[in-house]
């Protein structure tokens, strides 16, 4: 609707040229932080898995100790 005054007052400003560089710089920094964090999180999950997992060389499996049919 051409008479809609909301359309007439719509902003026509362009973003500053410097903004693109600032955004991309922040995005690259964020990506670096994410990769850095992933490095530790990945190692941590492997370490926790090793401690908690049931199967493995020195761990008894549920097949070795099957659960009681009465749940006790």
């Amino acid at each position: 609707m051409s008479d809609n005054p909301f359309k007439l007052i719509r902003s026509t400003d362009q973003p500053p040229e410097t903004l693109r560089k600032e955004v991309m710089s922040s995005v690259k920094f964020a990506m670096l932080l994410m990769r850095f964090a992933q490095l530790f999180v990945a190692d941590l999950s492997v370490a926790i898995f090793d401690k908690v997992r049931r199967s493995g060389d020195d761990k008894p499996t549920t097949r070795d100790n099957p659960p009681s049919p009465h749940g006790s």
Binding site: I9, S11, L19
Partner: protein, 170 residues
């Protein structure tokens, strides 16, 4: 996503996001900072974009919500309780809409500068961007009746401000 591909998204959407931020805040410097943060937020949340809506709709939802959050924090805005009883689409409210759309552009601009940012946001969504009710529900994360109620109250308050600013106008 690599940064080069994200740069393509920036080039495609930055102008519209920036203009929405200017429209919501009426402050070019603040709009610049908000645009920066919105694109950073979008990048960090790309994994949550589920392709059910268009990327633009998803990005504009972040834009509206981030602008509103910032303005609310700045003004220590108290979120009003939303009365879920819907009274919109009544003849009186249709009259309010006609009055709102009948304002002169300069007068409307003045009114929008003076009303609450939340009211300004829903009016811009509805009448400038012409978002559907569903898109507004998604963007604001509220029910259909809450969107209608917010719109109705925003129209009422905009008209009250108009009367206050231009007491001699019809």
């Amino acid at each position: 996503m690599d940064t080069e591909r994200f740069a393509v998204l920036y080039d495609r959407y930055s102008t519209k996001v920036f203009q929405k931020c200017v429209g919501m805040t009426r402050d070019r410097e603040l709009a610049k900072d908000l645009t920066h943060d919105i694109f950073l937020k979008a990048f960090l949340n790309l994994a949550k974009f589920d392709h059910r809506s268009k990327f633009g709709t998803w990005l504009y939802s972040i834009t509206y919500n981030y602008c509103l959050d910032t303005l609310r924090k700045a003004k220590r805005h108290r979120e009003e309780d939303i009365d879920e009883r819907t009274e919109s689409d009544t003849p009186a409210d249709e009259g309010n809409e006609a009055q709102l759309l009948g304002m002169q552009a300069e007068q409307l601009d003045h009114v929008l500068q003076c009303i609450d940012p939340t009211d300004r946001a829903v009016l811009l969504m509805k009448y400038e961007d012409e978002l559907s009710l569903k898109d507004m529900m998604d963007a604001l994360s509220v029910s259909e009746s809450a969107v209608k109620m917010r719109l109705m109250r925003a129209r009422e308050r905009a008209l009250a401000m108009y009367t206050e600013l231009y007491p001699d106008e019809p």
